[in-house]
């Protein structure tokens, strides 16, 4: 039961691929979709695998399929639904998120994909006091990189959506009402000092516009490592005291987006222990990682558990590696070798990838 479903850019065949019959099978992303959609957001080892095999393949797995079926059936005049992927380390949460994001992209939604919220709360090289609100801090570097990637992803839609309010950046610069969003994004990339405020303005605008009944686009907010928004941060101010999370503009605006007071879209998130600060290594459940405040703010949400590979999925992954000439050791093609792989990796996707790497 391993077949490669070759995707053409026609969305009809893509729709057909996302059914239960194709569980455990791989589908290839067309290269025209891969470059704009994922400038950020994929795990590093997967990016290297894409470079080696010269193609990007996702496995169709139950958690991603579940979320996609809910996205198809949801009522978008009601407040946005929040989906949360959780599971042990390396079980495929980020990949399921990217699968769902790709589905939304093919439907023509606006994709707001934050690759890892943990990167915004640690290792900050430049911290500027915010121009808009003097109590808060700006992170220009992270904001500009994110804006650049956002522009690559949503190039075709940015010229169609117009701003609804007037934004004043400095005494001489302002963005008027009715200008295309692309101009706002370019403003943020060129003027590094006000980039975090641009990010905040962008989020607010998109949120307001998708809520209106006459909007012709839907918004998907995809956040990886959402437990960073309610944890602690390691960034220090000049007097060596720790920065509170509310004092960071990026985090503040993101938290406002995560509230389900807007309509016309969906919020898909992932928990992540690997990048998180001050959490034990064995914690993977939403209650443990989000903490009390996080859980209360995210409540109500739809938790989707991402387990390790089942027998069938493991078979499929093994056959995929064999087909792509990744499993080279002569012993790995025998039954004994396969049993040993299954035991050593305990069917965890990332462990299987690491073990098959050197075999």
């Amino acid at each position: 039961y391993f077949t490669m479903l070759n995707l053409t850019s026609a969305s009809a065949s893509f729709q057909a691929c996302q059914s239960e019959k194709h569980l455990g099978q791989f589908y290839t992303l067309p290269s025209a979709h891969f470059r704009p959609l994922f400038p950020h957001g994929l795990p590093y080892r997967y990016q290297q695998q894409v470079k080696t095999f010269n193609e990007a393949c996702f496995m169709v797995r139950p958690p991603a399929l579940e979320v996609i079926s809910y996205l198809k059936k949801a009522d978008y005049s009601k407040p946005a639904l929040r989906y949360l992927f959780y599971g042990v380390k390396g079980s495929g949460k980020t990949m399921s998120l990217c699968h769902a994001v790709h589905f939304c992209y093919t439907q023509g939604w606006v994709v707001l994909h934050i690759p890892d919220a943990h990167l915004w709360v640690k290792n900050c090289k430049e911290l500027l006091p915010s121009s808009y609100n003097s109590a808060r801090f700006d992170q220009p570097l992270q904001a500009t990189t994110w804006l650049r990637n956002f522009r690559t992803t949503n190039e075709h839609l940015l010229s169609q959506i117009k701003t609804k309010r007037r934004y004043v950046w400095t005494k001489r610069e302002s963005t008027d009402e009715g200008r295309p969003l692309g101009e706002l994004v370019n403003q943020g990339i060129s003027r590094v000092k006000s980039s975090s405020d641009v990010v905040g303005a962008l989020m607010k605008d998109l949120r307001l516009q998708s809520s209106q009944p006459g909007a012709d686009f839907r918004l998907v907010v995809a956040v990886d490592g959402v437990n960073a928004l309610w944890g602690r941060s390691t960034i220090k101010k000049e007097n060596k005291s720790a920065v509170d999370l509310e004092e960071l503009t990026l985090i503040h605006n993101l938290k406002k987006l995560m509230k389900n007071d807007w309509t016309g879209g969906a919020i898909i998130t992932t928990l992540s222990q690997t990048g998180s600060l001050y959490t034990p290594k064995s914690a993977y459940l939403p209650q443990e990682l989000l903490g009390e405040t996080g859980f209360d703010s995210m409540d109500p949400f739809i938790p989707v558990s991402v387990p390790n590979y089942s027998e069938k999925e493991f078979e499929s992954a093994y056959l995929y590696y064999l087909d792509r000439k990744w499993l080279q050791h002569p012993q790995s093609r025998t039954e004994d070798g396969k049993k040993e792989l299954s035991f050593l990796s305990s069917k965890n996707p990332s462990m299987l990838d690491r073990i098959c790497g050197f075999l």
């Binding site: 095999f53 010269n54 792509r324 000439k325 050791h329 002569p330 790995s332 040993e340 050197f358």
Partner: protein, 229 residues
């Protein structure tokens, strides 16, 4: 430890057993690690095999070394190389470097394979294990030089080397070359994979060193009969 007079070879275990040392009482037998040995039925080598099995049921057996596994993927040459790379007993790090090297070699080869046109796909060798073994074979010298003192002067005499010595020299040269002669900021696995790939096609510094040794041995051929063993 008991002396090696046969009368004293009894199953005597001291109170504190130093399992990690290799000086066992010769009474102890070697452990059998391979899985295939245990799945054989009552046939094959009936008299000798059965005698061995009887003996194993009675006599004590040494503890298996921690570097040996019964996995189908274990490779004695690779284990020897990892042990030679290991410093201060850090086997975890040495093994990590080795696996990253193999993965790096495989990645480069598979990338070349997928980008190559149909006709050239069969010529590209993707298996990192065959590449590694072939590279080691290419690095092994055929003859070595020994300093022999005759009549007050010391001559460099070409001598034959045993198989073990040759493979040891090949591995030693590979490791020292990667540690010393490469750029400071590259990772060890990167340096190793570059060196192994060039040794596979008979290029690179290790092959050059082997060839220089061969030339020296060839030029000192006249002293060959100074060797008396």
């Amino acid at each position: 430890m008991a002396a090696s007079l046969s009368g004293l070879l009894k199953p005597w275990t001291p109170r504190v057993f130093l399992v990690r040392w290799s000086r066992y009482n010769p009474y102890y037998l070697e452990p059998e690690v391979r899985k295939e040995a245990y799945s054989q039925p009552e046939s094959e080598l009936s008299a000798e095999e059965k005698e061995q099995r009887e003996l194993k049921m009675i006599r004590p057996i040494k503890a298996a070394a921690s570097g040996v596994t019964s996995s189908v993927f274990s490779d004695p040459v690779l284990s020897k190389f990892i042990n030679m790379m290991m410093e201060h007993g850090n086997k975890v790090l040495a093994r990590e470097i080795m696996t990253q090297t193999l993965e790096n070699i495989k990645k480069k080869q598979v990338e070349k394979y997928h980008k190559a046109p149909e006709g050239q796909k069969e010529e590209i060798e993707c298996n990192p294990y065959t590449i590694f073994h072939q590279a080691l074979k290419n690095c092994q010298p055929v003859v070595g030089l020994e300093s022999i003192r005759k009549g007050g002067k010391i001559y460099q005499v070409p001598i034959p080397l045993s198989d073990k010595r040759r493979s040891f020299l090949a591995m030693k040269w590979l490791i020292t070359e990667c540690r010393d002669n490469k750029h400071r900021r590259t990772h060890m696995y990167e340096k190793l994979s570059q060196e192994v790939m060039s040794a596979f096609v008979h290029e690179g510094n290790v092959i050059r060193k082997k060839n220089e040794l061969h030339k020296m041995a060839e030029s000192n051929r006249a002293y060959a009969h100074y060797r008396w063993w």
